[in-house]
Assembly symmetry: C2
Homo-oligomer: 262 residues x 2
Amino acid sequence: MSTDRFPEFRALHHGGTPLLLPNAWDHASGAALAAAGFAAVGTTSLGVAAAAGKPDAAGGTRAETLTLARRLGTLPVPVTVDVEGGFSEHPGEVAELAAELASFGIAGVNIEDGRSDGSLAPRSHLAEVVAAVKAAAPRLFVNARTDTFWLAGGPDPLREAVARTQAYAAAGADGVFVPGVADPGDVRTLVRECGVPLNVLFLPGRHTLDDLAGLGVARVSTGSLLFRTALHAAVAAAVAVREGTAEADPAVPSYADVQRMS
Amino acid sequence: MSTDRFPEFRALHHGGTPLLLPNAWDHASGAALAAAGFAAVGTTSLGVAAAAGKPDAAGGTRAETLTLARRLGTLPVPVTVDVEGGFSEHPGEVAELAAELASFGIAGVNIEDGRSDGSLAPRSHLAEVVAAVKAAAPRLFVNARTDTFWLAGGPDPLREAVARTQAYAAAGADGVFVPGVADPGDVRTLVRECGVPLNVLFLPGRHTLDDLAGLGVARVSTGSLLFRTALHAAVAAAVAVREGTAEADPAVPSYADVQRMS
């Protein structure tokens, strides 16, 4: 738990090929992803919220996020935690949270400018938060996310994303995350302009990991995809029993396999 | 949350066709199963434990089980909660736990005689626990589980299972659960001898729901199958991104779909 994961995690953003970061929502998913050979694991705020029966991106899962972080801090790979907007409007409180996460062995955080009402926080706000977090936990990899492509990014989401990623990088962000960007030209522009490693969200059917590598992306997240896929698979398995079509699948881990992951 | 689910859940054990009970481990899985039309939802102690990074059947997840029960008590269908051996050697403490679960809107509990060291609790012990729970929460559907087919059931697990299910029914159990039984003759014997609705574990590839209906089984649980299937699906989705084979799957719920379940 006290292993120093900071340099290892940071180096994964500068390896020449993108860091593929799968996103966990509980200890089992994190442990299984680490066991499957992924070099690092992130979290999905949608998964954490939905597991608790709460809405995502509404700032209501601070306690669940801390509980999960404490559990994932023991994984054998670096872990980065999504803290939505930081669960507070006060940069100092977000910084305290980040320092607590670092004390659990967490290597990085994602902090976003999207707000639950669909608006974007002022650029200066997330810049202040980033600066406060870096002051409190200098070695933590701070990935600043801008939601201009998802929310009210104005008439030119790309231009706004460039301005915001530059502002966040200037405030000390170690990387920036622009979910929703898909156009290769837009990705190239962001890689060129943002000044720090660029993280994008993997969009199934829109691109491959190789495509994104070719555009210079440093980190690719799966976001809530794995959680949503798991949820679908669970329901489908139950429906198969109901419909009489269930078959044994040797690829599914056994009871003993899962017990060994605890 | 205060809806009285007891009669509804009880009736599902006497409907002429088996109650298929899919097992959830968090709010999202429970809500998704309820939305898929299952008449009731159970929990999987393996899933609850693994989600928290703890071993199953070791008595260490009392708090996590209570937290989950509180969340699932708001589902629109009856919910039954697996409490392993009751998280205490004292029948009075197990009864207090059961009463607390009932106060959350939970309709039933599973209590088992298997112990973490692989032994079976004395028959009289689980009978005392069942009696204490029924005294404290008379309307709660108490499903008493015997692990004779999994653990040290002696030279004749069926004979031991019959004796135990009869003892638990005599102590007030509303139903009995014999996981691991697969031989149709054994199932028939248990249905005939146990005196209350028989619950068996669904074993993929060994039988269908129709097979079990034909043998007179009243309730069929999926145990940890859905949890393990979900875990596999999550890892497989991440591996597909890594290998460049990921495709969009329209059957997977969207972000908005999951948000609506909270």
